[in-house]
Amino acid sequence: MIYNLSKYLVSDLMRNKALWLNGLILFIFSYLINDLSSDSSKAAVSILNMNLMILPLFSILISAIYYYSSKESMEFILTNPVSRFSVVVSIYLSLIIVLSLYYSVGIVIPTIIMNGTGYMVHVLVPGYLIILIFSSVSVLSSVIFNDKVKGIAFAIFLWLFFAFVYDSLLALVIFYFSDFNLEKILIVLISLNPIDLYRINTLLFLDTSAMMGFTSAFMKNLFGTTLSIISTYVLMGVWVIIPFIVSLRLYARKSF
C-alpha cells in the first residue's frame, strides 16, 4: 500500500516545475563552487556551507508546502481503505525520495565528478540525513498546525532557530561563561542541533579542523574518529525518528 501510494506521490512531486527550478539552482551553485574553488578542500568547505544553509530550508519549505497543498488530496485518499499510517509514511517517503534526488543531481554528482576526494564523503553523506531530519521536522509541524500560514511560518522559524538563533545563543553562552570549562556542555548542546552536529563533525575531517585548535583535538580525543561518525549518525537518526514517530501518532488522532 505504501509502495503504491508513494509511487504516485513521487510522480506527482516529480512533475512539479518549481522543484525542478530549485534543483537547477542547486546545480548552478554547486557547479560554480566546484569550478571556482582553487582546491578541493576549499570546495568542501563551501559545499558544506551551502548545505548547512540551503538543505534545511529547502527540505523544510518543500515538505511543508507539499503537505499543505496535498492536504485535501490526502483527505480524499483517506476515504479509501487506506490506513493513516500508510498515508503519512508515503508522504514522508515521497518527500525524502524526491528531495534526495534533487540533492544528488544538484549537488552530490557534480561535486563528485568535479572534486571527488575522500573527505567529500563527510560533506555529502550527512546532507542526506539533513534532508531526512528537516523533512521529518517539517511534516511534524505541518501535522500540528492545521493552518497553512501558521504551519509554514513555524517551519521557517524552526529553520531560523537551528541555523541562526541556536548558534547565537551558544555564542552568548560562550561569551558570558568563558571562565568556566564549557567544552563538555558545548558538545552536549551541539549534539542537540542537527545543523551544528553536521557542521562540527564534517569540519573534523577537513583541514579547517586545525583552526579549531584544541577544541578539535579535544573532540577527536573524546570520540575517536569512527565513534564520532557513528555517534553523529545515531544522533541525527534520532532527529529523524522522533519527530516522525510523533507526527505518525498525531496524524493517527487528527480530525480533518
Partner: protein
C-alpha cells in the same frame, strides 16, 4: 448497515456534534440538512473516518469501526470540493484508486457514464471544478460500494451531469444501497430523499421520512438561516 451511536465531537468548548445517533438503512436515501456549521460535514467525515469523534462510535454491520480503515472499502464518497494530486493525469488517479482498492474490480462503465473518458489524459490541474466533480462521482460509484456518501452532490455540477448523478443515485437505491447525502437544495432533496435529518448546532432537530414531512415546516427552518434560505428560493 452503517450507523452512528452517541456521536460527540467537540473542538475545545464548542461541539460540532452533540450525542448524535442515527441508523442508515439499505435502499434508503437519507438527506442530512441544516444551516452552515450545523455539523453536517463533521457527521459525514466522522462516518468516513476523517474525523475522530470525541466520544461515541461509528458502527458498520454493528461493529464499531472508529479508528479502523478496512471498512472503508464498502464506502463510496463524493466530496463537496474534490481534490486529487494535481500533477497526475485523470487515468493515473483512477489507477491509484484502483491500487488502493485492489480487493474490488472497478465498474469501468462509470467513466463513460459520467463522461470523463474525453479528458482522461488530462492533468488534474487542467480540469475545471465540474470536471473534477464528475471524476469524483465516477470514483464514488465505481467500486459498487454498499454505502454512498455525497457531500453537496449537485453543487458544482452542470445541469446535465447533475441529472445523470440523480439518476445514478436512484439506481443505487434500487440496488438496496445506503445513500447518505447533504444538501442545501430543497429541489434536490425533494427529488431524491426518502428520509430527512435536520441538524442544528450539532443536534438532531428532527429525523423523519420524507413523505411525512411538512414542507412548510422545513421551509421555515431554512428561513431561519438567511443565506441558506436564499439558496433554497
Amino acid at each position: 448497515m452503517i450507523s452512528v451511536k452517541n456521536l460527540t465531537k467537540s473542538y475545545g468548548i464548542q461541539s460540532a456534534l452533540d450525542n448524535v445517533s442515527i441508523d442508515f438503512y439499505p435502499g434508503e436515501i437519507t438527506a442530512i440538512m441544516g444551516p452552515n456549521g450545523s455539523g453536517k460535514s463533521t457527521l459525514l467525515k466522522t462516518i468516513l473516518g476523517l474525523v475522530i469523534p470525541t466520544s461515541g462510535d461509528v458502527l458498520y454491520d454493528n461493529v464499531a469501526v472508529t479508528g479502523k480503515f478496512l471498512y472503508r472499502k464498502n464506502l463510496g464518497y463524493m466530496p463537496q470540493v474534490p481534490s486529487f494530486p494535481p500533477a497526475l493525469k485523470v487515468k493515473e488517479v483512477l489507477k491509484l484508486i484502483n491500487e488502493l482498492r485492489n480487493d474490488y474490480s472497478p465498474d469501468e462503465t462509470m467513466a463513460e457514464y459520467f463522461g470523463i473518458n474525453q479528458f482522461i489524459d488530462k492533468r488534474i490541474s487542467e480540469l475545471s471544478g465540474g470536471m473534477k466533480q464528475r471524476v469524483s462521482a465516477a470514483i464514488a460509484f465505481m467500486y459498487s460500494p454498499k454505502v454512498i456518501i455525497l457531500d453537496e452532490p449537485g453543487a458544482g455540477l452542470d445541469p446535465l451531469s447533475s441529472h445523470v448523478l440523480s439518476m445514478k443515485i436512484q439506481e443505487e437505491r434500487q440496488k438496496k444501497k445506503t445513500v447518505i447525502l447533504t444538501s442545501h437544495s430543497l429541489k434536490e432533496v425533494s427529488e431524491l430523499a426518502d428520509r430527512i435529518i435536520y441538524l442544528s448546532e450539532g443536534k438532531i432537530t428532527f429525523d423523519k421520512p420524507f413523505n411525512e414531512m411538512n414542507m412548510e415546516l422545513l421551509f421555515n427552518y431554512f428561513k431561519s438561516d438567511e443565506a441558506v434560505g436564499n439558496e433554497v428560493l
